[in-house]
């Protein structure tokens, strides 16, 4: 067994274990962290397939951005686990059927000849850049699907904002423009006040200096 094969089985075992842990651990934050581990090991497997660009992008996008926001939300959830587990036995037959169908479909897909998964691609030459070849394919052959996908994403962003955007009356906002434009003269008014001078009688002028000191 080559070193790469050992690495593959190691990553595969960790990936499957992490995937199982995601759906079995009780704590939602722990589950999210196991999902991060699963992404990491998946990236490792992709690296073994010489897909370094995809592997790094998987970490950058899913681990670095998506899972951070996910964790952000999960931490603030108040989950009642007893209530969640209530319907477990009732829904088990339906869920099991769906699971079996999915497993069969995946098995059919992986074993079918039309996907060419039986043969592995040869290792690319050392000077072939993953990024360059991927970019070339994306922006020439698959330009239209690529742009369509980005438009779909844009629509999703706008829809998500439109659905959740509502101005609440009780929330207080600062008007930044006003704050930036503010001048010292708007906030502070310096009034010149004449200092009060003790109008001492001329007769006791000599003792006035001492009197003001005390």
């Amino acid at each position: 067994m080559t070193f790469q094969a050992i690495l593959f089985y190691l990553f595969g075992a960790v990936l499957v274990a992490a995937g199982l842990a995601v759906i079995t651990v009780k704590n939602a934050v722990h589950a999210a962290m196991f999902l991060v581990l699963a992404f990491f090991t998946a990236a490792g497997i992709w690296l073994l397939l010489y897909a370094e660009f995809l592997a790094i992008t998987l970490i950058l996008v899913y681990v670095g951005a998506v899972m951070v926001l996910f964790l952000f939300v999960v931490m603030m959830l108040d989950i009642n686990f007893a209530k969640l587990r209530e319907g477990f036995w009732r829904y088990l037959p339906v869920a099991a059927t769906v699971a079996i169908v999915m497993v069969v479909e995946m098995a059919l897909l992986l074993t079918s000849k039309s996907f060419g998964l039986a043969t592995t691609a040869a290792a690319p030459a050392a000077d072939v850049s993953n990024v360059k070849s991927l970019g070339r394919v994306l922006y020439t052959e698959y330009l239209l699907p690529f742009e369509l996908a980005s438009v779909v994403l844009l629509i999703a962003i706008i829809a998500a904002i439109a659905l959740t955007l509502r101005t609440r009356k009780e929330t207080k906002y600062q008007n930044m423009g006003e704050q930036v434009r503010v001048k010292a003269a708007d906030r502070l008014k310096i009034v010149k006040v004449k200092s009060e001078v003790d109008e001492a009688p001329a007769a006791s002028a000599t003792s006035a200096g001492e009197g003001s000191k005390s």
Binding site: E52, I56, I59, L60, V63, G64, V68, F72, V131, M176
Partner: protein, 378 residues
């Protein structure tokens, strides 16, 4: 100088290969390289925080640490301070708060420090002085730096403390929003150099006109935004709302004591040094000399000024590291909504517009125009 180091390096490789064999030899060399990068890095972290206290003391017209000396040498006043601090932190008790998630509480500092150290694998210090010269170097840097936020979020959540949790929430929102501006700012040098390999990006900034060839001139808005976003990414002043001593006590690491706290500290400072290194590589020409003009290369007296080398790289890093401290001593903390506005409404639009400008400059009628061909005509 460079030739002797390269020769010594080759000797080490030969000795390791002949004694350990073809598999273990290169592995041992890589391990040696990692040690050669990480030990100076850790020493820099140790002494950078001493310099930080000195510089801030100097700006605020007071003395910094000046008591702990090494072997009682008067000249080295204060130099023993980082060692004393490290020893103090090492010997302190580890307190794990009741009701905290123990596993994640202890995992959090590890998660914070691992990417901060790991990313140095792709940073080139001089021509061929890099642990791993990968083609997608810039992507590795982005991926690694984007993971630093996990340490903060996990620490905040696992502590089971409201202060820590608030700090973590603020930090997560801040890091995620500034990462976009930072990523866009990094695309500028990528477009200009037409490569993601950090060594190639530095090489593309070389030429006959010294520092006029560097990318900070055509990419000036991106350069400024990269540095400010770097301040926000590392949760440094004036964007340190995640720590916010005056409101959140110490933010996400309020419950950490002793060595676990020291590890967070280490990660933060390693990340600052990384931002300085990346800014030097991407915008200030890395190890290239600022005086590398074609006319100076043949004049005997000033020839040495034009030589490239790690000393220029370190000097450029020092400029940024000083800027970090200067900003910290000069500006008050940003309010949270101001911080979000700066990130989303000012930085991201500016970077997008300037990326279009850069993309236009790389295209033909402009790329070979008189001045623009300095940077893009290669």
């Amino acid at each position: 100088m460079l030739e002797t180091i390269a020769a010594a390096n080759q000797t080490v490789i030969n000795v390791l290969n002949s004694t350990l064999g073809p598999v273990a030899g290169p592995a041992a060399k890589t391990l040696l390289n990692i040690v050669l990068v990480l030990v100076p890095l850790l020493l820099t972290v140790l002494y950078y925080q001493l310099v930080e206290r000195w510089v801030i003391g100097w700006i605020q017209v007071r003395r910094g640490p000046n008591r702990v000396t090494i072997f009682n040498i008067p000249f080295l006043r204060g130099w023993g301070q980082p060692i004393a601090d490290a020893l103090k932190l090492l010997t302190k008790e580890q307190i794990i708060p009741q009701g905290s998630d123990k596993a994640l509480f202890l995992l959090a500092p590890v998660v914070a420090v691992a990417p901060a150290m790991g990313v140095w694998a792709v940073i080139p210090f001089a021509p061929d002085w890099v642990v791993s010269n990968v083609d997608a170097g810039l992507l590795v840097v982005l991926a690694m730096t984007s993971m630093g936020v996990y340490g903060i979020i996990l620490a905040g959540w696992a502590s089971n403390s409201k202060y820590a949790f608030l700090g973590a929430m603020r930090s997560a929102a801040q890091v995620v929003s500034y990462e976009i501006a930072m990523g866009f700012a990094l695309i500028g040098p990528l477009l200009a150099a037409q490569s993601m390999n950090l060594s190639t990006m530095v090489a593309k900034q070389g030429g006959n006109y010294g520092f006029f060839e560097w990318f900070f001139i055509p990419l000036f808005p991106l350069f400024v935004i990269y540095f400010i976003a770097g301040l926000a990414e590392t949760n440094r002043h004036p964007f340190d709302v995640a720590e916010g001593e005056s409101e959140l006590v110490a933010g996400f690491h309020v419950e950490y004591s002793g060595m676990t706290f020291a590890v967070f500290f280490l990660a933060e400072y390693a990340n600052m040094i990384l931002i300085a290194a990346l800014a030097s590589i991407l915008f200030l020409g890395g190890w290239l000399s600022p005086f590398d003009f074609a006319v100076l290369r043949d004049i005997p007296g000033v020839q040495w000024l034009t030589y490239a080398g790690i000393h220029w790289f370190l000097a450029k890093m020092c400029i940024f590291l000083f800027l970090f401290l200067w900003v910290r001593a000069s500006y008050p903390r940003y309010r949270y909504d101001q911080l979000m506005r700066l990130g989303w409404k000012i930085f991201i639009p500016i970077t997008i517009v300037w990326l279009l400008v850069v993309a236009a400059m790389t295209l033909e009628p402009f790329a070979s125009a008189p001045i623009i061909n300095l940077w893009f005509g290669k």
